[in-house]
């Protein structure tokens, strides 16, 4: 195994924070029962379904934590799931995760490419998550408030001018409170909300297009070199094109 291929995995993995106290998914190879990857992203699990003979187990963190301290994967450094690929592998039994030997070069090669794919998927999803996190409020339930406000705005803007718009506070509770606070009419409040909603919808749609594009590219990649090219493309689009 060349250092270059190992460093691809290590380089990508370091950029993706992994939290063992959050939802932890494990992806297994069906043929060998070996754990291929741990991830916080259900999207990575879903993408794996399409390109590998894998199964999935949710919330494996207790077993990971229970691993012996000298094992290839410990709870503390679980994020760095960089096993010595020439030697080790992980297998889940009823009560614990145990280390096993990788049988042969073919198996090793297969595991390596799948791990690289999963790592790159995690990286893409973490970037996309960070963009989406910045778009939505962090107050609990705020996203649904925005959606309801938008629904009210659509209703107000679609109401024909001949129809008398109900001005009762309970008719459009979100918009009415917004309009009262800003001392503007209900119609203007609706327009402002509509503009902001249009911006968010378009941005989110672009973001989703990006997610679909990179998921497809990574799923279809057959070699680590192809994954490296996808990674460079991703780096450019996410970071370097912005250095104007």
């Amino acid at each position: 195994m060349s250092n270059k291929k190992l460093s691809f995995y290590g380089h990508i993995r370091k950029q993706v924070p992994f939290f063992l106290n959050k939802k932890t998914h494990a992806i297994f190879d069906r043929d060998t029962g070996r754990i291929l990857f741990l991830t916080n992203y259900i999207d990575t699990v879903n993408a794996f379904k399409y390109f590998a003979n894998t199964s999935h187990l949710y919330n494996i963190r207790k077993k990971v934590r229970a691993m012996p301290p000298n094992s290839s994967l410990t709870a503390n450094r679980a994020y760095n799931f960089s096993l010595d690929l020439s030697q080790g592998g992980l297998k889940e039994t009823d009560n614990q995760i145990i280390e096993t030997k990788v049988k042969n070069m073919a198996e090793q090669k297969k595991f390596r490419i799948l791990r690289n794919k999963a790592a790159l998927l995690d990286l893409v999803y973490s970037h996309i998550s960070s963009i989406r996190a910045a778009m939505f409020g962090s107050v609990y339930g705020q996203q649904i408030v925005y959606v309801l406000k938008h629904i009210e705005a659509i209703h107000v803007l679609r109401t024909s001018q001949d129809d008398k718009l109900s001005s009762e506070p309970w008719s459009f509770p979100f918009l009415n409170s917004y309009a009262n606070l800003k001392k503007i009419s209900l119609e203007q409040a609706a327009r402002e909300v509509q503009i902001k909603a249009d911006i968010s919808i378009t941005k989110l749609a672009e973001n989703e297009e990006l997610r679909l594009k990179y998921t497809a590219l990574i799923v279809q990649a057959g070699t680590t070199q192809e994954l490296l090219d996808i990674y460079y493309q991703f780096e450019k689009e996410f970071k370097l094109y912005g250095q104007l």
Partner: protein, 373 residues
């Protein structure tokens, strides 16, 4: 065969190691040329329209991007903006198109809208003006949004759709590009941060340039040679360039002009690429010959004593219209284009026949007779 735009990140950035090695094999001087981008910015199509600096990539300067001869200009800057707005409005009306202004809330795009709002009636604004904005645009200039945009403009849309607009054949896309080049250069800000504001008005010297380049190039052996190359651009200028500010302004004005005109176009979708007609359905507001001549004639007065005074003249015009004292006193330059181009695929190069390519640049677009050999 020549290009009108190239994406320096795709070609010259070290993340593209394999591609870069291939290019350098084709054209060895690219190895030195790539250092220009450590100094300016990673993503730009460096090209000296004054003709003083010869680069390894065959570039064609578009007719309307050529450096104008210095004639007399009978208008002041504010009048030039109004004249430009009138010219674009006439074009839109004649072609039965709407003017879509890419608005960031920053000084340049706010000034574009102020110019249109001053010359158009309320009915004309409703019929002919579309504003493309983002959440950041609203936050960057909240008073302008509340006082004018929301009331005056009927057609407000998300700026992210700019890539698709030209393809619809109903719009003239107008950006605020060019005004940074008329008024100064972001490189000066880097220099101010490493020294202090008074450095802007100090006499420019080759020694200072070398010291500045050393910071960005990290003592690369090509540093002194690059300083010589950039100095050539100053020596060839048709006007006297003496201070540090003027030196960097001129570099920006002469070497980044076509790059900023073209850069937003690199992100267009396929329909818009096919439909694109430069200066017909796309233009940058601040790029008229008269505006450029005005800048060349007034280059000694483009900046006040402090960096805060950058584009003071523009801010005063906006203030007269919007009456926002805070914006006048405290608005600083912020890059905004990044918000809408990030995370989008860019063309690697655009040819002089306005064909877009996303693959490697063929050998015939390189030359080895240039200043970077």
């Amino acid at each position: 065969m020549s290009l009108i735009y190239y994406n320096s990140v795709d070609i010259l950035h070290s993340t593209s190691t394999l591609a870069l090695q291939k290019y350098i094999t084709q054209c060895p001087s690219l190895d030195n040329f790539k250092k220009v981008f450590n100094f300016f910015a990673a993503n730009m199509a460096f090209c000296d329209r004054s003709g003083a600096i010869k680069i390894p990539i065959n570039m064609q300067i578009l007719d309307f991007c050529k450096l104008p001869a210095i004639n007399s200009v009978n208008y002041n800057y504010e009048e030039l903006c109004l004249e430009r707005a009138k010219q674009l409005f006439d074009r839109a009306k004649k072609g039965n198109k709407k003017i879509a202004v890419l608005y960031s809330g920053g000084i340049d795009s706010t000034l574009i809208l102020v110019s249109f709002f001053k010359i158009l009636t309320a009915a004309e604004i409703q019929e002919y003006i579309t504003v493309l904005l983002s959440e950041e645009s609203i936050l960057e200039n909240p008073s302008f949004y509340k006082k004018h945009l929301i009331g005056l403009v009927k057609d407000i849309r998300p700026s992210y759709i700019f890539r698709h607009l030209i393809g619809t054949n109903r719009y003239i896309l107008v950006t605020g590009e060019g005004n940074d080049q008329l008024f100064g250069s972001a490189i000066i800000r880097k220099l101010i941060l490493s020294k202090d504001e008074s450095v802007m008005h100090a006499k420019m010297s080759k020694k200072l340039l070398v010291s500045q380049l050393k910071l960005d190039l990290k003592d690369d052996p090509f540093t002194e040679r690059l300083a010589e190359i950039l100095w050539k651009n100053k020596e060839a200028a048709p006007i006297e360039i003496s201070t540090v500010f003027e030196f960097y302004w001129w570099l920006n004005f002469s070497c980044k002009w076509q790059s900023v005109y073209m850069r937003v176009l690199a992100y267009l979708d396929e329909d818009s690429q096919k439909n694109l007609k430069l200066e017909e359905n796309y233009t940058a507001f601040f790029t008229t010959s008269e505006m450029q001549i005005w800048a060349m004639k007034n280059h000694h007065h483009l900046i006040g004593k402090k960096w805060k005074n950058y584009k003071q003249l523009c801010k005063e015009i906006i203030f007269k219209f919007n009456d926002d004292r805070d914006y006048l006193d405290n608005k600083l330059k912020l890059g905004s284009l990044v918000n809408i181009i990030k995370n989008k695929p860019s063309a690697t190069y655009i040819t002089d026949e306005i064909n877009y390519y996303y693959s490697s640049i063929p050998n015939e677009y390189f030359n080895n007779t240039n200043d970077f050999v």
